[in-house]
Amino acid sequence: MAQEGMHVHDGLEATCWELLQQVTDPEIPVISMVEMGMIHQVRVEDGVAHVDVLPTFVGCPALEIMKKNIAEKLTEVEGISKVEVQFVYDPAWTSDRIAPEARGKLKSFGIAPPPIDFKPGDIWEVACPYCDSPYTQIDNLFGPAACRSILYCRHCKNPFEALKPIY
């Protein structure tokens, strides 16, 4: 009996992960929160889905919207009566958590993905997401969202944004 119950839970959790692929960061609609590496854990117990979310920047105003969107999405699932979304800080979100396939999507959206395996003291060099030129300059460390910076490509003369390395 107990084992059967566990199977049901596993199935529900898998369904949740699948649906979470459809929940996006409202400020970067091309990639999902799963691809951003922001979903740490999903547990379903007695019809309650517990979702642990790792914030990218804690002052991000989009966090509450994402929380709401997760809850709305998962209450669609049969067998889930309630959704509890919690922000957790252990492990800490780092920009290395972004899925490899999501990095290309960011680029196509005009946002340069953060460098991989960035360490303190490293120099942040950003290639233009449009022409791949390294001949770029940072115009503003803080762009329209805290997690992004505004840059300018001196080769193709386009302004663009880049996700900050968080490490």
């Binding site: 002052g59 800080y89 503003n140 460390l141 803080f142 329209p144």
Partner: protein
């Protein structure tokens, strides 16, 4: 640091009344410092020297407000009160922020002929930011484990705030004589209050003894060493030992400027505290 063993959870902290008291005191200092300075930052909206800076400064203020929320939520978990209420419904004498962060941005009011001082904004944000860096690094060793986790998170974000202000400081320090003179005047003004930043209030001994954060002297020395190094790097004269204001913010003594700020920022919330946002 004290000889107290690590406290893993909020439930464990609540087992010891004295520990909870020291922790509560410290959390109010951390929360109120970030909250009030973020509010002052928000009062620059639409007034920063150029549009890119307007975006950057409001983004950083919002992020710092997010840090304050984390601390207020930790207080809520300890049973001190609802995070929103703690931020918006307390009287000025219940605030534990340093006086430096509550000072007005300059002459005039946000809605009435503001003539704010941009040099003061840069120096205050930078000096506070350097102190916050030292404080967050010290909190990584805190006996209260949840505090080490949020500090680690904040450090990853805070380094970008510091980089931003460093650029401003360097550029103005090496710009026109007028820029240099305004910068030096702002340093003088900030320096009169800055010494209070590393004070830990009436419960300082207990806070250090329980290993919640390093003792005042250690925080102060590390911060001053870091500040002196960075001032000299951009060619600024080191102002020496910082002063402390007449009011003692960590003891709940504040200026009329905080009273006015609280009245403004909580005006809407007070109309209907039960409203859902």
């Amino acid at each position: 640091m004290g000889d107290f063993s690590r406290v893993e959870t909020v439930e464990a902290a609540k087992q010891n009344h004295e520990y909870t008291q020291a922790l509560t005191d410290l959390l109010f200092q951390l929360a109120d410092d970030d909250f009030i300075l973020a509010y002052r930052g928000s009062e620059w909206l639409g007034l920063a020297p150029h549009i890119e800076e307007d975006v950057a400064f409001s983004s950083m203020s919002q992020d710092m407000m997010g840090h304050a929320v984390m601390f207020y939520e930790m207080l809520e978990q300890l049973g001190v009160g609802k995070a929103d209420d703690l931020a918006q419904l307390r009287a000025a004498d219940a605030f534990r922020n340093a006086i430096l962060v509550e000072r007005k941005n300059g002459e005039g009011d946000y809605n009435n002929d503001p003539h704010y001082d941009w040099a003061y904004a840069i120096v205050r944000s930078y000096v506070y930011g350097l102190h916050k860096q030292v404080r967050l690094e010290a909190l990584l060793q805190s006996s209260y484990v949840p505090l080490t986790l949020v500090s680690r998170k904040m450090l990853t974000e805070h380094r970008y705030h510091l980089m931003h202000w460093q650029v401003w400081l360097k550029q103005l320090a090496n710009s026109t004589p007028e820029a240099r003179q305004r910068l030096e005047a702002a340093i003088e003004k900030v320096w009169k209050d800055a010494g209070e930043l590393s004070q830990l209030g009436p419960n300082a001994d207990s806070i250090a003894r329980y290993g919640l954060i390093a003792a005042e002297d250690e925080l102060k020395q590390k911060w001053l060493t870091l500040a002196q190094e960075n001032f000299e790097k951009v060619g600024l004269v080191w102002p020496g030992e910082p002063g402390v204001p007449a009011e003692r913010g960590r003891h709940g003594q504040h200026t009329a400027e905080l009273v006015q700020a609280l009245a403004t920022l909580s005006e809407v919330y007070r109309i209907d505290p039960a409203a859902s946002w």
